[in-house]
C-alpha cells in the first residue's frame, strides 16, 4: 500500500450565506445573488482540489463543539436536515453523506496514543452541524467523496488559546500519522473564518450587498496581516501570532481548525494561494489553499 498523503489543505470557512446565495437544490431558501467573490473563490479552489481526485475530505468545524475530548463521526451513513440555529431563514439543507469510518477510527487511535481524549459518535439520529455541512458542500457539492468529520474541542474557550493550540497541534499530528498509514489521498478543510466580530442586525434582504462590509478597520488590518503570512509561507509565525490575532479580532480560528490543519501538514513553509477574501455580516472570510502535494516536499 502506498503511503497516504494530504494532497491539499484548505481554509474553508462556512458562512451559510454562501450556500444560500448559490441556490443548490438541497437548500430550501432561495436567493437572488450574493457574496460572489467568495463563491467564485470557492469554485476556483474546488477545481484545484477535486482535480487531485482525493479519497477523503476531512473537515474540522467549530459548530460541533465538544467538551470531553475530540469526537469523530463513527457510522458510515448520515442523512438529515441541517437547520442553522442563527440563520434558519438562509440555511435548511438536506444532507446525505458517507463517512470514512476506518480513517476516523484510525485518527482517534493515533490521537489516543498522544494522550488526547477521543470519542466516536455512533448515534444515527445525530444531526451534523451546519459548519461542517457548509464547508463540505462548498468544496464538493456532489457529495461523492467520503468524509471524516472531527469535532472542535472547546479547550481554547475553557482554558486558553495556548492550551487549545497545543491540543490542535497534537490532533494534527495524529491526523497526519493516520493518513500516512491509510494509503489514502486526503484533503483537509479547516472550517474557520478569520476575524469574527459581526453585525448584530440584519438587513431586510439578506443578499443586499450594499450592507456588506468588514465590521471594523482593525479587523481588516488583522486579516490582511494574517493572509500575508499565509501567502508568504510563514505558517510558524502565523501559529505564533494566532493567540493575539484571536484575542484582538475575535477570530474564529480560536476553535482550532486552522491550527489542526497546519499541524497536520507539518507547518508548511511554502506559499498558500489565496482564492478569495470577503466579508459576511461583517466577519472576514478567506478561501486559502495549500497545495501540499505540489509544494509539501515531504511526500
Amino acid at each position: 500500500m502506498a503511503k497516504g498523503q494530504i494532497v491539499s489543505g484548505v481554509l474553508a470557512p462556512h458562512p451559510p450565506h454562501l450556500v444560500y446565495a448559490e441556490n443548490p437544490e438541497r437548500n430550501e431558501p432561495k436567493a437572488e445573488c450574493g457574496w460572489e467573490v467568495l463563491r467564485w473563490g470557492y469554485e476556483r479552489c474546488r477545481r484545484n482540489v477535486l482535480a487531485k481526485k482525493p479519497d477523503v475530505l476531512l473537515v474540522h468545524s467549530p459548530h460541533w463543539q465538544t467538551i470531553v475530548g475530540h469526537h469523530f463521526l463513527g457510522l458510515e451513513k448520515f442523512s438529515g436536515l441541517s437547520v442553522d440555529p442563527i440563520f434558519p431563514h438562509l440555511f435548511r439543507y438536506s444532507y446525505d453523506l458517507t463517512v470514512d469510518v476506518d480513517l476516523s477510527l484510525a485518527i482517534a487511535k493515533e490521537a489516543e496514543k498522544l494522550e488526547l481524549t477521543t470519542s466516536i459518535m455512533e448515534n444515527p439520529d445525530f444531526r451534523i452541524d451546519y459548519g461542517s455541512i457548509t464547508s463540505l458542500h462548498l468544496m464538493n457539492p456532489e457529495w461523492d467523496i467520503p468524509v471524516v468529520v472531527l469535532s472542535s474541542n472547546n479547550s481554547p474557550y475553557y482554558f486558553s488559546n495556548e492550551v487549545g493550540q497545543l491540543e490542535m497541534m497534537k490532533l494534527g499530528e495524529a491526523t497526519r500519522s493516520a493518513i500516512e498509514k491509510s494509503g489514502k489521498r486526503c484533503v483537509l478543510l479547516a472550517s474557520n473564518s478569520l476575524s469574527h466580530r459581526h453585525f448584530t442586525t440584519e438587513c431586510e434582504i439578506p443578499e443586499d450587498m450594499s450592507f456588506e462590509h468588514i465590521d471594523s478597520h482593525g479587523q481588516y488590518l488583522w486579516d490582511m496581516e494574517v493572509l500575508k503570512m499565509m501567502k508568504e509561507g510563514r505558517s510558524q509565525e502565523l501559529l505564533d501570532i494566532l493567540p493575539e490575532f484571536i484575542d484582538n479580532s475575535a477570530a474564529e480560528v480560536k476553535a482550532g481548525a486552522l491550527t489542526w490543519m497546519l499541524s497536520a501538514m507539518g507547518v508548511p513553509s511554502y506559499p498558500a494561494e489565496i482564492h478569495a477574501y470577503g466579508t459576511v455580516i461583517g466577519t472576514g472570510n478567506a478561501i486559502v489553499e495549500w497545495d501540499h502535494e505540489k509544494c509539501g516536499g515531504s511526500y
Binding site: Q65, P85, S151, Y158, T200, T201
Partner: protein, 480 residues
C-alpha cells in the same frame, strides 16, 4: 394570586444526563426525581403557559422566539450523544411568542420568530420541557439567550416578557434553564462518582443556593457577576438577570431548593420561587434610572453602536478588540497606512476650571476618548460657589441646583474646549445629586436645555454627600 403575571418561577439544570442517564448515576437519578416534584407542583397551579429561557439557546443577532406551534424532532446532544436520542413533540404558544417579540422589537433589538421544520431546539429546553411538562398540559414559549447581552439588556428582555404576558392577559410559569457552576470534567468519568469539579465552585453554588432559599431573587441577580467570575457560572449566570427582570427585580418570593447535584462536574440545581406579592411589569422608567455599570456601557458601545465604534476604533487601550496587528516585517508594510495615535494616556488641565480638590487632573485622554473627572459648580480662584449660600461658619443655608448645574456645564465646556474637544462631543454622563427627591426635577430642566439637546447616555445617582458643599456633580466621557 389573581393579578400576578407569574404563578411561580424555577431555575433548573438542562443537562441531558438527568433525562437520559438517571440509571447511571445516583446524582442524576436524584435530579430526575426532584424534577418530578416540580412537575407535580406546576400541575397544582393555574397558569396559561410555561415560559423558558435557556442558556443553551444562544442567539447572536438579536433575539429569537420559537414560533412553530408543534415543533417535533429527534434530538441528540452534541457533547453527550452516547446518552441517546431525545424525541420531542411540543405545543407552543405562538401568540405569546409574537407578543413577546413585539415587545423586544420595541426596545430596539432585532427579533426573529422562528417557524421552520427542524429548527434545532436546544438540549436544555428539551430536557426541562420533557421533565416538567411531559404531556404538553401547558403550551410552552421559548426565547433565546443573547450571547453578547450584558446585565442591563438581559434584564430588559426579561421585563419585556412581563409586558408581553400583561398585554396577553396570561399567567406563566417561568423557567430558567441554567447550570450554576459550569466547570465540566474534561475527561470521561465514572458517573457513579460524579462530583462538583472544584471545591470553590461547590462553595459558591451553596452560597447562591442559600440566597435562593431565602427567596431573594434580586439579591442573586446582584451577585451574579461575582458568582460567574468565581465559579465559572453557566453563561455568566446571565439567565438570572432575565428571570429577575421578568419577576420585577424583587426579593418578594419564598424559595425552595429542590435539589443540588453534580452533573459531569458542573453544579446542577433545581430551585423554586413563589411570589409573595403579585408580579406585575415595572415601568420602563424604572430601568432607565437604573442603568448598568460604566463597564457595561463602554462594552455596549463597542459591541453595537456603529457611531461609537468609529470613536473607539483608535482607542486601542479602551477596547482591546480593536487593537491593530503588530507590524511584523515592517520593511514590507506601509507604516503610514497602519499608524495610529499612540493611544497613551495624557492628562488634561484647564486653567479656566476650578482647582481639583485632590491629586487628579481635570481630564485624561485615552486613545480617542476623554475621561473627565467629576465636575462641580465651583469657580477657579474663588471661594464662592454659584448657587450655594453659606453662613459665616461655612454651613449651607440655601442652594439653587439650577444655578449650580449651569455652572457645572460651563466648567465642562471649558475643560472639553481646552482639551481640543467640545461640549457636543459628550457621549456619556454620570450625574451625582445629594438630594434626588428635592433636586431632580430642577436639575433635569437645566439638563434638558443643555446636555439633553446633545443626547448622551446618562446615569443619575443620589449620593450622601460630595467633597465640597455642592449639590450636583457631573462626570462625563467625550470624544477627543
Amino acid at each position: 394570586m389573581e393579578d400576578s403575571i407569574i404563578s411561580s418561577a424555577y431555575v433548573v439544570s438542562g443537562q441531558p444526563h438527568i433525562l437520559l442517564g438517571a440509571d447511571q448515576s445516583p446524582a442524576w437519578a436524584s435530579l430526575q426525581k426532584s424534577y418530578d416534584k416540580i412537575r407535580q407542583d406546576i400541575e397544582s397551579q393555574e397558569a396559561d403557559l410555561i415560559l423558558y429561557f435557556s442558556t443553551q439557546w444562544l442567539s447572536v443577532i438579536g433575539y429569537m422566539f420559537q414560533g412553530d406551534p408543534k415543533p417535533c424532532w429527534s434530538h441528540v446532544d452534541h457533547n453527550f450523544h452516547h446518552l441517546g436520542t431525545m424525541h420531542y413533540d411540543f405545543k407552543v404558544d405562538t401568540d405569546l411568542a409574537a407578543a413577546y417579540a413585539k415587545e423586544v422589537t420595541q426596545l430596539g433589538f432585532t427579533t426573529k420568530v422562528v417557524n421552520y421544520r427542524g429548527f434545532p431546539i436546544d438540549t436544555g429546553t428539551i430536557v426541562a420541557q420533557k421533565l416538567l411538562n411531559p404531556d404538553n398540559r401547558l403550551p410552552a414559549a421559548m426565547v433565546s439567550c443573547g450571547l453578547y447581552a450584558e446585565k442591563e439588556e438581559t434584564t430588559m428582555i426579561g421585563q419585556a416578557a412581563a409586558w408581553a404576558l400583561k398585554s396577553s392577559g396570561k399567567k406563566a410559569i417561568a423557567v430558567l434553564v441554567s447550570n450554576l457552576s459550569n466547570r465540566y470534567e474534561i475527561q470521561k468519568i465514572d458517573p457513579k462518582k460524579d462530583k462538583i469539579s472544584s471545591l470553590k465552585d461547590d462553595e459558591w453554588n451553596q452560597k447562591v443556593l442559600e440566597i435562593f432559599e431565602r427567596g431573594a431573587l434580586e439579591d442573586v441577580a446582584q451577585v451574579a457577576r461575582q458568582f460567574a467570575g468565581q465559579a465559572n457560572a453557566d453563561m455568566g449566570f446571565k439567565g438570572i438577570w432575565w428571570l429577575n427582570g421578568l419577576c420585577g427585580e424583587s426579593n418578594d418570593f419564598t424559595g425552595k431548593v429542590y435539589d443540588y447535584q453534580p452533573v459531569w462536574g458542573t453544579g446542577a440545581a433545581l430551585v423554586g420561587l413563589k411570589p409573595t406579592k403579585a408580579v406585575q411589569p415595572l415601568s420602563w422608567d424604572h430601568f432607565q434610572s437604573e442603568e448598568g455599570s460604566q463597564a457595561e456601557m463602554v462594552k455596549g458601545i463597542a459591541d453595537r453602536s456603529a457611531a461609537a465604534q468609529a470613536v473607539l476604533s483608535s482607542a486601542d487601550d479602551v477596547n482591546e478588540n480593536f487593537k491593530e496587528p503588530p507590524l511584523v516585517n515592517r520593511d514590507s508594510v506601509n507604516i503610514d497606512s497602519l499608524s495610529k495615535p499612540s493611544g497613551k494616556s495624557k492628562a488634561v488641565e484647564s486653567l479656566r476650571c476650578p482647582e481639583p480638590v485632590g491629586a487628579y487632573p481635570h481630564a485624561r485622554r485615552h486613545g480617542n476618548l476623554l475621561f473627565l473627572s467629576g465636575m462641580g459648580p465651583r469657580k477657579r480662584g474663588s471661594k464662592e460657589i454659584p448657587g450655594v449660600s453659606l453662613n459665616a461658619d461655612g454651613k449651607i443655608i440655601g442652594y439653587d441646583v439650577k444655578v449650580q448645574t449651569r455652572s457645572v456645564i460651563e466648567n465642562l465646556k471649558a475643560v472639553l474646549e481646552d482639551a481640543g474637544s467640545s461640549f457636543e462631543k459628550i457621549i456619556d454622563v454620570q450625574v451625582f445629586l445629594t438630594n434626588m427627591e428635592k433636586d431632580f426635577q430642577s436639575f433635569n430642566e437645566v439638563y434638558a436645555e443643555t446636555l439633553g439637546k446633545i443626547g448622551p447616555s446618562r446615569t443619575t445617582i443620589e449620593v450622601g454627600s460630595l467633597p465640597t458643599p455642592i449639590a450636583v456633580e457631573l462626570k462625563v466621557i467625550a470624544e477627543a
